[in-house]
């Protein structure tokens, strides 16, 4: 009788643990998914801001056609890019092109003084920051998820459910190099 009770209690405990561990895994996996889509949200927000910026700059520096076209092209490339690697590269090109536009404002004081331009610059800078934070949070989430599914005994549940490891977001080689400033 006592043996039966002990066995029963043990079984209940194991089941309870299993439920808790499973829920924990689901929570961590969903956080990873959510963090990944958050990056996309911020990237999209940046793309949406660019037509406005181009229009504003045109009004003051119409003959800087080359710079503006580069931005439009980079934006189109980023919009049609597929997969993390391709879109990562396209976003980097776009960041470079945007920097060129903001550098223009030094040559055009009226543009620099334009309130709309100032707001767009603030928004774009903030969005770049948010993209970086979203990537950081994604990597943090992947770290806790990957650690969890490798640890015993959660690894048993993860294997049974075929929960695989997630990839980290890695900065492109080009982005890792510090840009050289020439005088």
């Amino acid at each position: 009788m006592i043996v039966l009770i002990v066995v029963l209690v043990l079984v209940v405990l194991v089941v309870l643990y299993g439920i808790a561990a499973y829920n924990g895994l689901v929570k961590l996996r969903n956080r990873v998914e959510n963090a990944w889509s958050q990056i996309d949200v911020q990237l999209k927000r940046r793309l949406d801001l660019i037509p406005n910026l181009v229009e504003t700059v045109k009004g003051y520096a119409a003959h800087e056609r080359q710079t503006l076209e580069a931005v439009v092209q980079a934006r189109n490339a980023a919009m049609s890019a597929h997969g993390p690697a391709e879109s990562g590269a396209a976003e980097n090109v776009l960041s470079g092109a945007l920097r060129q536009v903001f550098a223009l404002s030094e040559a055009y004081p009226e543009l620099k003084a334009n309130q709309n331009f100032g707001q767009l610059q603030e928004e774009l800078t903030a969005t770049e920051g948010r993209v970086a934070y979203a990537r950081q949070f994604y990597n943090d989430s992947v770290l806790s998820y990957n650690t969890k599914i490798q640890q015993f005994p959660a690894v048993l549940i993860a294997n049974a459910l075929k929960y695989g490891q997630r990839e980290y977001f890695q900065a492109e080689e080009a982005a890792r190099d510090v840009p050289r400033v020439q005088f």
């Binding site: 956080r31 958050q38 911020q42 707001q119 603030e122 928004e123 800078t125 903030a126 920051g129 948010r130 970086a132 934070y133 979203a134 950081q136 949070f137 943090d140 989430s141």
Partner: protein, 301 residues
């Protein structure tokens, strides 16, 4: 970090319990002095219960109100909103409510009871003095207070300390009004009662005890929040240069009082001798480690 959260929740329970104890003891002291009997003690119990309850649910509102904070307008303070949004994405916290205080002294604090009910207030002085990265460092520091549940303990302390100080101040004044003769003529022999004397002692000690209570609650959490802020921004120079600017600035934050001093990122009161007569007294309740120490620690990261 999780230890810190657990410790803060534990401290909250201890704080509420000792608060109820102090208020009840003060009530006993008052009723002994004024001869109120058991009704006074009962009243103290009810009052302390009500105060503890409102402290938990409403102390952030009280704290923001006494600091004269107004809700920040999202279009006027675009940069503030943008920075906090980014930091929230990076740390996985929900967006807190943002407030602005019209005060030329650069300072900031966070309040609320948990990350879902949190608020960050910054002075207009901070917004004008700091550049983008510095402001980001300061805001990350405040968000760390939210994430570590520091806000719960320290905000509770504001209302509780405020309440105890208010009650005991009132009683002391009441006694002066009576010209020192607390009881009426028919029970004058009561003045030799040792219990009444003890009660009087308690009355004097209550505000001091209350302030010591929140002193114990504070101090090294500032350094801890600095470190976790850098964990969010991954950029120590931002916060370092912000703290250096705060060090160079010696304006006294007028929106702060002794009850709220421990909330702010930088010691808001006058503590240096040249800043005023109260400096020595304020130093007694100093709730912040020196900025030099905090900067040195961040440099090592």
């Amino acid at each position: 970090m999780y230890d810190q959260i657990a410790a803060n929740k534990r401290r909250t329970v201890v704080l509420i319990a000792s608060f109820v104890f102090v208020v009840v003891a003060t009530g006993v002291a008052v009723s002994l002095l004024l001869g109120g009997g058991p009704i006074g003690i009962l009243l103290a119990l009810v009052v302390s219960g009500a105060l503890a309850f409102t402290s938990y649910w409403k102390s952030d509102v009280v704290t923001l109100a006494v600091s004269r904070a107004r809700p920040a307008d999202p279009t006027e303070y675009r940069r503030l909103y943008n920075l906090v949004e980014g930091l929230c994405i990076g740390s996985g916290l929900p967006m807190p409510k943002l407030y602005v205080i019209d005060d030329p002294a650069p300072n900031a604090f966070a309040t609320g009871r948990d990350p879902k009910h949190a608020a960050v207030a910054v002075t207009t002085g901070l917004l004008t003095l700091m550049n983008r990265v510095e402001l980001e460092g300061v805001l990350a520091h405040e968000l760390s207070h939210i994430r570590n549940y520091d806000i719960l303990v320290s905000t509770l302390a504001v209302t509780m300390v405020g309440a105890v100080a208010l009650v005991s101040d009132t009683v002391i004044r009441l006694m002066w009004w009576n010209g020192g003769r607390v009881s009426r003529g028919d029970d004058r022999d009561d003045s030799g009662n040792p219990l009444a004397l003890l009660g009087f002692l308690f009355l004097l000690l209550a505000p001091v005890l209350a302030r010591l209570m929140h002193f114990a609650v504070s101090r090294n959490r500032e350094t801890l929040a600095d470190v976790s802020a850098v964990q969010i921004t991954r950029y120590p120079p931002g916060l370092i240069s912000a703290l250096e600017k705060l060090r160079a600035d010696s304006t006294v934050t007028h929106s702060a009082s002794r009850a709220t001093a421990h909330l702010w990122i930088e010691q808001p009161l006058a503590v240096r001798a040249e800043q005023g007569r109260l400096a020595r007294f304020n130093r007694l309740f100093d709730t912040h480690p020196p900025l030099d120490e905090r900067i040195a620690l961040l440099r090592e990261l």
